[in-house]
């Protein structure tokens, strides 16, 4: 999705102190209406469905009669065993979709229908059924949690009194790579949803910030040894580790392009952290942006057209998005003083990031068509989000 210049121009006052704000993409959403009856959860299920539709950025809720389609839904059953029956008709009354969804959680059924409704009318993939994993920290205890896009409590995947950090969900949905200090320094682990267990894959030195190739086979990560940090690449099939950068400067925070041919990374070779693009096999890295004094945590969009990253502005840290060629830099966050670790949703229409805007660091999701913000985590300090693919092997069912 390309975003439009909305014609807003901010005056630049001095060196890089003000940036153009991110504007809503502003695509027209397809209006639809819906109703839900049935068991006592029907009312909150309708709220959930309306949220899923609006947060898609593709469809939007409308009054009955104003939409291109109307969905009549009936939720039946009780805790642990629900059925959602939907009957979708077009504006002329033509039958579009008639289907039943069954499962143990009504939220999952609503999400599945919302994604199908979005696809039915737009041909585009929705993200209502996706999940976001993140790290929590509370009084010296750390955990890796997975949360669906609703009010259900997160699933605690791993918890420990030693540091857990920098998780990364594999594109095939089967594993989450993460760093654990369980054995004294940061080792890289893979949590497998199928096995419900994690195994260590890299040790020796400090191994952090894993990033998967699109085929889920390789993991680029940062290896810090004897005061130096470089990008390495693990072949999860063979177990081989190859060093990709060999510089005395800090090289960290790699993110692959959607073809896997290139990566973007952070390097402080000029004295302060900046973004660089490099072939995935290593070699010369080219600087990817010149507008900031400090940038880190780049994330390449699923379509390959944009980079999200974190930059320091007037002493604060904010999320930015720019084109992959470094042009059209937009500031995404303005609230809070510490906004970091942006990651794209699998369809590229949303960003997840952490922010301290409400006091304690929390995970926020941003829909880019209308710039709607949704707070995903609650209470405990939460950071380091990673987004599931659209089809998930494990996670919350």
């Amino acid at each position: 999705m390309k975003y439009l210049m909305a014609g807003l121009v901010l005056a630049f006052s001095g060196y890089s102190s003000e940036f153009m704000q991110m504007t809503p993409v502003g695509n027209e959403c397809i209006p639809v209406s819906m109703e839900m009856s049935g068991c006592r959860e029907a009312s909150v299920a309708l709220d959930q469905l309306e949220f899923d539709i609006d947060f898609s950025g593709i469809l939007e809720t409308a009054d009955r009669g104003d939409g291109y389609a109307h969905a009549r839904c009936v939720l039946s059953g009780r805790s642990g065993n629900y059925t959602l029956s939907v009957d979708v008709k077009g504006a002329e009354g033509e039958a579009l979709l008639k289907k039943e969804y069954s499962g143990s959680s009504w939220q999952s059924l609503v999400h599945r229908f919302a994604d199908e409704f979005v696809y039915l009318l737009s041909g585009e993939q929705g993200i209502a059924s996706t999940q976001v994993a993140y790290i929590t920290r509370n009084n010296g205890s750390y955990s890796l949690r997975v949360r669906s896009l609703d009010a259900r409590p997160p699933q605690v995947v791993i918890s420990d009194d030693e540091v857990i950090t920098t998780p990364a969900w594999s594109p095939d949905g089967e594993n989450i790579a993460f760093t654990s200090y369980r054995n004294g320094s940061g080792d890289l682990y893979l949590y497998s949803f199928a096995n419900s267990s994690a195994r260590r894959v890299v040790t020796g030195g400090l191994n952090t910030s894993p990033a998967w190739t699109p085929d889920s086979r390789y993991i680029a990560f940062t290896r810090s040894v004897s005061g130096n940090s470089d990008i390495n690449r693990l072949d999860t099939a063979s177990g081989d580790v190859q060093q990709l950068t060999a510089r005395s400067s800090i090289e960290t925070s790699a993110s692959f392009s959607p073809t896997g041919q290139q990566m973007i990374l952070t390097s402080d070779r000029v004295g302060y952290p900046q973004l660089y693009v490099m072939d995935s096999s290593g070699g010369t890295a080219e600087r990817a942006g010149f507008a900031h004094g400090y940038c880190d945590s780049p994330s390449w969009s699923p379509a390959g057209d944009r980079i999200a990253y974190c930059a320091r502005v007037n002493g604060e840290f904010h999320i930015f998005v720019m084109n992959a060629d470094g042009t059209d830099i937009r500031q995404v966050t303005t609230e809070g003083t510490l906004n970091e670790d942006p990651v794209w949703s699998p369809t590229g229409g949303h960003l997840a990031f952490s922010s301290n805007r409400d006091g304690v660091r929390s995970i926020y999701l941003l829909e880019l068509n209308k710039l709607t913000v949704y707070r995903l985590s609650s209470g405990t300090e939460s950071y380091c989000a990673t987004w599931s693919p659209v089809t998930i092997q494990g996670g919350i069912q």
Binding site: I158, N183, R200, V202, T203, G204, S209, S253, D341, C384
Partner: protein, 187 residues
């Protein structure tokens, strides 16, 4: 040494390597992987965890709480941490004085090792701070090594900003977290 394991569970996968790994039973901060260990099939590490019936919850085995012998506790109290300016791993003149006293003490008391933990304040990003903490730990390591403390008595680790000492975002709290914490380990 770097060791990597892959467990193929799908018949379509070409590689079928199964290494069983057992978690090294930790006994708190006193038990760290020996630098000379190489990971091989005979010294496996894996995770055991407790899964509750109804939830898919993984919980790591609890560490045995480290209780220092009194003497080690004395050493810990005698050694002072080293602090840093924002975004820097340089040792100021004042910090060099502190470090020299720490080095002197360490040379004169032999029955412990040191773990140099690099830490950063909450500003700055997670990724970069992990690397900066590594540099800070290395700065202190290099100083102590040059002073004459054998490498066998020194280890480094970086926590970046993942394990702060003080919470809060006022200047004092931030400055308290920009440090190398010198932790005493049994020899």
């Amino acid at each position: 040494m770097v060791s990597c394991y892959y467990s193929g569970r799908d018949s379509m996968k070409k590689t079928v390597l199964i290494f069983m790994c057992c978690l090294l039973a930790g006994v708190g901060a006193g038990c760290r992987p020996d630098d000379t260990d190489t990971d091989s099939g005979e010294n496996p590490d894996s995770l055991t965890f407790i899964a509750e019936d109804t939830l898919d919850v993984g919980v790591w085995l609890d560490d045995t709480v480290t209780t220092y012998a009194d003497e080690l506790a004395e050493h810990q109290i005698a050694l002072n941490d080293v602090f840093f300016d924002y975004n820097s791993e340089d040792l100021s003149a004042e910090m060099l004085t502190i470090l020299m006293a720490d080095a002197d003490y360490t040379m004169n008391n032999q029955n412990f090792r040191l773990l140099l933990e690099g830490h950063c304040d909450a500003r700055g990003t997670i990724d970069y701070n992990l690397a900066l903490g590594e540099r800070r730990a290395q700065s202190v390591y290099d100083y102590l090594l040059n002073y004459g403390i054998p490498a066998s008595r020194l280890e480094t680790v970086s926590y970046g900003k993942e394990r702060p000492f003080v919470s809060g975002d006022d200047d004092w709290a931030l400055s308290q977290n920009r440090r190398v914490h010198i932790r005493v380990l049994p020899e």
